[in-house]
């Protein structure tokens, strides 16, 4: 039945595919003709431009071929797709690797990264074609993408029960491992800060479902509170930390009140405005906050009152003297790392526990259906305000840490981009998933730090990644929700897979 239908359809398929591929190539031509075809050049006199029409031609041909390749796989001719894509991919890769003089003649694009993208696309088509051949159904259509993704995420979630302790153990022993140089620990500290911010924002966005685009405001409030208490009043870090958290939490309530009735887009816009307001106040209230200059000489952290100094004043202690070890500037770095690790783990433990408490369940219920919550006698005002306050409090803690680590705060550190990055971590990781947020922070913050050479492509990769995730995993990579309480032990009647 199927075979006959295919035999009938095939003569029609090729011309249709060709037509569609040419169409795709033409669209690519129109789109790239100006974006790629014209390049501005800064000559000595003025800004002028040169053309890159060969690249435009290659890009259009490439898009047409890729379209044709996917089309072949999808319409039951995976073998042709496999051979063609392998030929293109292998040829391109070998020229890139061992080309020598052939590079000048053959390579379509000037930039090696773009050339490798061609290899990558050819590889993806080849893999799809090979999978289709192996399944033998000839269609090569991926099994319903969301279901597959869900299965993987579910598996991963089960594995994360094992993975999480391993990650934590690794994080704790990391500074003593041989590869951990100063730069590595620094990056790990930065990543941990964002993990903590992600977990904090996860309470507001992931659990309570309140889209907050101004989370950086609480980070800023925490950082400035710490800096002011520490510089003006001379309070210690451990005293300032809870104070900063409390002040940030009050700002959370302050933001919460006006937005109680808002949902979705409107809420997002107001929170975005709030974030900008805080930044502008920090800039303009110069006699209090130092304006654009910020606050200098924020006290560096001490080991519970014992400073990290090479030559402490006579009669006082210093960290290396206390422990009788050689002075090393790394001590402070490692201490900072443990400090933020501890704070982040505290946030994690707190969110883990609060999800299993009535308030956490009420947050999730509020995210699902506010009207039903009210009918059940849940006070929506208090529930929302606690979510804002607690999320803000952890933002404030992270802010204090930021201030003590940098030794300097200024409004520039608290732009909207920060909020966007933190939100991206939460969304990418899967709202509500703790391990997902940690992994997303590593991918979004840690990886770019180690690939600084490719910084120019960072935002591009970021954007492409976001688009792909919105297509395939709109709820985030690891968005599989585990019930907070079970009647039957795990492995009983399996819960139905989520609807697509």
């Amino acid at each position: 039945m199927v075979a006959r239908a295919e035999a009938l359809a095939k003569p029609l398929v090729i011309p249709t595919l060709l037509k569609q591929s040419i169409g795709a190539a033409l669209i690519a031509l129109v789109l790239t003709s100006l974006i790629v075809g014209i390049k501005t050049v800064d000559t000595n006199e003025a800004l002028s431009f040169t053309t890159r029409f060969p690249s435009v031609a290659w890009a259009s041909i490439g898009v047409g071929l890729a379209y044709l390749g996917f089309g072949l796989v999808r319409s039951g001719m995976p073998l042709a797709g496999l051979i063609a894509s392998l030929a293109v991919g292998v040829a391109q890769a070998s020229v890139l690797l061992w080309g020598g003089p052939a590079k000048e003649l053959y390579l379509p694009f000037e930039d090696p990264v773009v050339n490798w993208v061609v290899v990558l696309v050819a590889g993806v088509i080849a893999i799809r074609a090979a999978l289709a051949l192996r399944r033998g159904d000839g269609t090569g259509a991926a099994p319903a993408g969301t279901a597959l993704g869900d299965r993987i995420a579910r598996k991963f979630n089960q594995a994360s029960r094992l993975l999480a302790p391993l990650l934590i153990a690794f994080a704790i022993t990391m500074p003593f491992l041989p590869f951990a140089d100063r730069r590595f620990v620094d990056v790990a500290t930065l990543v941990s800060t964002y993990v903590m911010l992600g977990w904090g924002l996860n309470i507001v966005v992931g659990l309570a479902g309140l889209l907050d685009l101004g989370y950086v405001a609480f980070y800023a409030v925490g950082a400035y509170s710490y800096s002011m208490f520490a510089t003006y009043l001379g309070l210690s870090f451990w005293l300032c930390l809870p104070l900063a958290g409390m002040i940030a939490a009050s700002f959370g309530v302050l933001l919460g009140f006006p937005v109680l009735r808002l949902r979705g887009d409107y809420l997002a816009i107001v929170t975005l405005g709030f974030g900008e307001m805080v930044r502008l106040i920090l800039i303009n209230w110069w006699w209090f906050t130092g304006g654009p200059n910020g606050i200098n000489n924020v006290p560096r952290p001490s080991f519970f009152g014992i400073p990290f100094e090479r030559n402490p004043p006579e009669g006082t202690w210093s960290f290396h003297k206390l422990f009788g070890i050689e002075y090393s500037s790394n001590h402070r770095v490692v201490f900072l790392y443990y400090l933020i690790l501890g704070l982040a783990l505290l946030t994690c433990l707190f969110s883990y526990r609060i999800r299993r408490l009535p308030i956490g369940r009420a947050w999730e219920a509020l995210r699902e259906d506010e009207t039903a919550c009210r009918a059940l006698g849940i006070n929506p005002t208090n529930t929302k305000l606690t979510a804002f306050a607690i999320g803000a409090m952890f933002g404030g803690f992270a802010g204090s840490f930021f201030a003590t680590r940098q030794g300097f705060v200024s409004p520039e550190s608290f732009t909207f981009l920060e909020s966007a990055v933190i939100l991206a971590i939460v969304v990418l990781g899967g709202m509500g998933s703790q391990v997902g947020v940690a992994l997303a922070a590593i991918v979004l913050i840690g990886v770019p730090e180690f690939f600084r050479e490719l910084a120019g492509y960072r935002m591009l990769a970021f954007g492409i990644g976001m688009v792909l995730i919105m297509i395939w995993r709109p709820r985030g990579l690891l968005a599989v929700r585990d019930p907070t309480i079970r009647l039957h032990p795990r492995g009983g009647p399996e819960p139905e897979p989520a609807k697509p």
Partner: protein, 286 residues
């Protein structure tokens, strides 16, 4: 305070309830009472204002005029004076919705636990001692699970307790919504078209469940319904609304023969014969 029929205590008294939306009078001077431990039904053609009465009762609307008083065992309440959520929390009036409103991505069991929010909140000392998982809180949580389990057994969803609620079949979602409302330990259960979308078998099961709730839990049920087999089969008392006014009030037998009701449902010409569908519907209940 004795109601007219059966000599039971009056639980809910609605007096002169009026709700205006701009120029539209959705509910116009409606007065009725619902007795404790009885099933009362509000019926009427589409747009008669039934759901508006419900929304006033459960605090989703503030009535323009009128008094709604609840005389429950745990105290007297003036519902029109209370904030929406406090009607569920303090007066213990629970409701379900015409279009089911579960928490679809939470599990069935979690839906029932969320319904016991206020009690658990107190047990966790507003989260403070809950964070440390002290025995007082874990005991309370265990009790909450027991209550949930009891209702899961009653609605036959025990083996699917850990499913996402949104993945249940439609009939099961209806039952779960009723169970969730019951987990708030209400004194008055308001059901907005509980039989909508159910097949005849499910609808018969629903009748049994509601009668069971009335007799075993000893609470009052107020329901809006179009399905006459449900209304006539289980109601002890029926209120008929049309164009926002009450046109009849009484037991099922008297409602069935009330000329006003027949006119409201079938139009003015009383000498015309009933359409067969309606005649069947009306006969079904008896």
């Amino acid at each position: 305070m004795q109601s007219a029929n059966g000599g039971r205590q009056t639980l809910l008294e609605v007096e002169h309830l009026t709700m205006r939306f701009g120029g539209l009078v959705a509910v116009n001077d409606v007065t009725f009472a619902a007795a404790d431990r009885e099933i009362s039904a509000i019926i009427g053609p589409n747009g008669a204002g039934k759901t508006t009465v419900f929304n006033c009762l459960t605090g989703f609307y503030k009535p323009t005029v009128g008094r709604m008083s609840l005389h429950a065992r745990h105290g007297d309440f003036l519902l029109e004076q209370m904030d929406g959520f406090r009607i569920g929390q303090r007066a213990r009036v629970a409701r379900t919705f015409q279009n089911i409103r579960l928490f679809p991505r939470m599990s069935v069991l979690e839906n029932l636990i969320v319904a016991q929010h206020n009690e658990l909140m107190r047990a966790s000392l507003y989260t403070v001692i809950g964070l440390f998982n002290l025995p007082r809180y874990s005991r309370a949580e265990k009790k909450a699970v027991e209550l949930a389990r009891y209702w899961l057994d009653r609605i036959r969803l025990t083996d699917r307790a850990d499913w996402e609620a949104g993945n249940l079949p439609y009939g099961a979602q209806r039952r779960l919504e009723i169970a969730r409302a019951m987990c708030t330990k209400p004194v008055l259960l308001c059901l907005d078209e509980p039989a909508a979308g159910l097949n005849p078998r499910e609808s018969a099961e629903l009748n049994e469940l509601l009668i069971d709730i009335r007799d075993k839990e000893k609470i009052a049920i107020l329901l809006i319904e179009h399905d006459m087999s449900v209304v006539m089969g289980i109601s002890d008392h029926i209120v008929v609304l049309d164009y926002g006014r009450k046109i009849a009030d009484g037991d099922p037998e008297s409602i069935r023969n009330d000329p006003n009701v027949i006119r409201a449902y079938l139009g003015e010409e009383e000498d015309e014969e009933l359409p067969p569908q309606v005649a069947a519907d009306l006969a079904q209940g008896s």
